[in-house]
Amino acid sequence: MSPLPSMGSRSRRFDAPDKALGRERFAADEYPENLLWAGALRAGAPHGLVRGVDTARAEAMPGVVAVLTAGDVPGANRQGFIYWDMPVLCGDKVRHAGDPVALVVAETREILAEALLAIEPDIEPLPVVDGLDAALAPDAPRVHDLETGNVLKQATVRKGDARAALDRCDVVIEETFFTPQQAHCFLETENGTARMDAAGIIHMTVSTQSPFRDRYEVGQALGIPQERLHVIAPFLGGGFGGKDGVTVQCLLALAAMHAGGRPVKMWWSREESLLAGYKRHAARMRFRLGAGADGALRALVCDLDYDTGAYAHLGVEIMALGLEHASGPYRVETLEANGRCVYTNNPVAGAFRGFGVAQVSFAFEGMMDRLADRLGMDPLELRLQNAIRRGDRNGVGVAMTASTGMAECLAGLREHPLWRTRGAWVREAPPLTRRGVGVAAVLNGMGYGRGLADMAVAKVRLTVDGRFRIYNGVSDMGQGNSPTFVRMACHVLNQDESGMELVQPDTDRSHPSGSAAAGRTTYTYGKALIRACEAMRDKLLHRAAMALLVDDVADLELAPGAVRHPATGRALPLALLGSKLHPDDRCCVSEAMMPVTRDVPEGGEAFRLGFPHLIFPYAAHLARVEVDELTGRVAVADYVAFTDGGRVLDPQTYEQQVQGAVAQGLGYALWEDCAAEGGRLLATDLSTYVIPGAGDLPDIESHAVETVEESGPFGMKGIGEVGMNGPLPAVASALLRMGLPMTRAPFTPERILAALGGDDS
């Protein structure tokens, strides 16, 4: 397919004017008339048996419309993806401090707050399972009633006999790495509005990454047939994975069922979002890497433990991606990756940009740096030497038949001035300051992976007044997939953006197209959209032929606002065509599916869904880092990212994805930590949970390495996640170069100062 004409050039995003002018309506902007407020009472106790919930005082309060507890939940009262283990309202047991035990519907926010305070839950405390060690101890209290104790899933993936190979290696490096829980901290916290109409249909407008799946999940949890659930997903004020799977939806639908037909709004405060929202899994990763004296990677054995908190959410799939990516973007002859996904009483962990991979990226890159050190090799050359190339088999044995630009990314970095001048820069460090330059090579599987059809259905309509309306099926949480869809449609239909309209996902209007996740949104929906637009183009040329007195559509073409006959200059305005066609005829719907691999690695059968992947975006990152010896403060002075995302459709959106991911990744490296003590979060709001501000971030230079992904729309593949995986290992690499071997993220001043040594009296 020919490249988009706008390729390589910057142009205004289709959604920019509405956002810049404040006209864009997010779910949080909905204040329907006559609305009620709903809110949940959170357990407070991280682990306990629910003896009862006394709601009498709250119910008696004027302005309280309903007070609901587990007994009022009509369906299975279980939410989830594959493991339906998370109650909508807890009736028997609470498993983390944010578990909801009661739901209140009230006339105002103030009454709601008072009513929540008036409810008295009677929770008998149980011993708290506060982390991996506590969960895996022989007599650990059980978070769920599992025969396997707190181990939700254990699996091993193998390529060859890695243990035997390890014994034969010239060098073997061993290290254990730890990563924290991380919060998504989207600007728009979890929220939505819902109303049940006279026919019993519940209409919801929610900040969600997965509107179609929400219907299924809410339907199961509350025993409502899916066709009685209507979900609208406007633009999100951020998602990053934290709105993949229901947040407010079940509670909101339940509230709507008790609101007498009035609309109900639920909007979590920042504190509630931190307490009850999903997090990135904390992980512990023990790695053993064996190599030849020449730097060839011969064997990797690793044990990965993911703390999924109180509920499974997507924990098992996240661990699977950790196993799949454990050997990084490298050729490793043999591999044994053991994983455990473990329940604790910590906050619920779930999807987050870099889904299981952000964790292991720290570990495998840490190993590469240590190996380079041991062998006296240049860390970038060692990576380049082992970089996976097209045709190689990856760590779990899948043949890389798609575009594979890892080596090109590293080669780009090698020629970059910031890499070439690193020696001088380090030598010129000011007094009391250490400097180091680090690199990281990372990847991130695109799409759902084998076993879970990664499918999208695109719909485009010619309106009666001759414009084209695109019905987006995958949420736009700010990543810009939907303005890119407009660009694609403009290209295929040869229209200006002024002739386009864009509808965000709505289960009544668009078609199920999966979640906004896994770097798949532009790839899969884009492919479907191209087909739908091509069908629309063919259709319109045929429909116009009669009016233009042409009997071969090859002589016709679409032009902005018209079908044209270049030979005669005659044109039929689309507005005229639109007004004549039957509504059913003005619509085209097409689908597309992402290809998967047929290679199933040994051990891969343990994962029915989402394992392994076939197509990977890659990135090589560089960080120039300074450490203040007096305070342990780490500053990232400069940052460069080379990214292989196939062809670039829109340079600005591409760069924004890279910069946003690097910023979030630096947050993960240096500041962010949902540390809990005894199951209780230490940082409960944004004054104590620290995310970086503008002043803490360097300029981030983004370069595209444009391989061509033949299977992708216009040759692209998704880069939403890969950029997240680089900063933590790149900063760690720089720190190692200055004599600070860090194994525990984030690299707080306190940890750095301890690593610097010296007196600690």
Binding site: G695, P749, S761
Partner: protein
């Protein structure tokens, strides 16, 4: 809730007399946060933002008088403060972020009396004096005595902080402020240091030091100040004073940092003074 907007300091005092349970509100950046958290629920708010005589910066010969309701932005942008009190200016520059500085006031910072208040260590080493107004008259005391503990001040019911007067240090003094927060802006101090050094003929003639966030209120260390006096401002000199600092501070563990980290950094920050006192001193 009843919100009053008096226009003069006298009217404020009058309002406090009429409503004994009223709370004063200047910028509201502490008070409203506490109100949202349910820690205070005032029935009457007396706002200071329109009180002209509590607002503004005035040069009085060798001193600068700052009205209690002067915002941090006004302090940061004031020419006289920039030139003559760089210590206070730097503290204002490290304070929160521009939107918060546009609201937050000096008086509010002092009256909140947080151990981490950014303006307190500078005002203490500068020897600033607080002016307290009440219907029965005016009294003055050093800012160091005004703050009596975490969240506690010398204010009696019905009293109001009117202004702070800061003597301008003589020429030849090095003024240094450093705040260690968990990020560059919008961060509460984990440790802060305000220092005044008078260097004469290559030796420290006088040192005044004050730390924030390492004790219930500002921590001074006369022992370290004495150790520095008469010595060249080298890394060695400042390192030698570290032990007395580590003994003097009384930090706590909290979510932002451990006591051990605070103690160590409090001493380490002194070494920055060697840099400030001239590259020649670095050894």
């Amino acid at each position: 809730m009843n919100v009053l907007f008096p226009a003069t300091a006298d009217a404020v005092l009058e309002a406090l007399r009429a409503h004994p349970d009223a709370r004063l509100m200047a910028g509201g950046t502490d008070l409203l946060v506490r109100r949202r958290a349910g820690a205070v629920a005032p029935g009457v708010l007396v706002c200071l933002e329109r009180v002209a005589d509590l607002n503004g910066v005035e040069v009085l010969g060798d001193a600068i008088r700052i009205g209690a309701a002067t915002t941090l932005t006004a302090i940061l942008e004031n020419g006289a403060i920039r030139e003559r009190l760089p210590l206070l200016r730097d503290a204002a520059g490290a304070f929160a972020s521009p939107p918060v500085r546009n609201m937050a006031t000096l008086g509010g910072n002092l009256c909140t009396a947080s151990p981490a208040a950014d303006t307190l260590p500078p005002l203490c080493v500068l020897g600033a004096e607080a002016e307290i107004l009440s219907s029965s008259g005016t009294r003055r005391m050093p800012v160091a005595d005004f703050v009596t503990g975490p969240g506690r001040t010398a204010l009696e019911p019905g009293e109001l902080l009117g202004s702070v007067t800061v003597p301008v240090p003589g020429g030849g003094t090095i003024q240094h402020f450093e705040k260690v927060g968990r990020r560059k802006a919008m961060a509460i101090a984990v440790v802060s240091l305000a220092a005044l050094l008078r260097v004469e003929g290559g030796v420290i003639a006088e040192a005044r030091l004050a730390w924030g966030s390492v004790g219930p209120t500002v921590v001074r260390c006369p022992e370290a100040e004495a150790l520095l006096a008469g010595r060249a401002p080298t890394l060695e000199t400042f390192r030698a004073a570290g032990e007395s600092v580590r003994r003097a501070v009384r930090p706590i563990d909290d979510v932002r940092a451990s006591a051990g980290y605070r103690r160590r950094v409090a001493a380490n920050l002194l070494l920055r003074l060697a840099e400030k006192a001239g590259p020649a001193a670095l050894g």
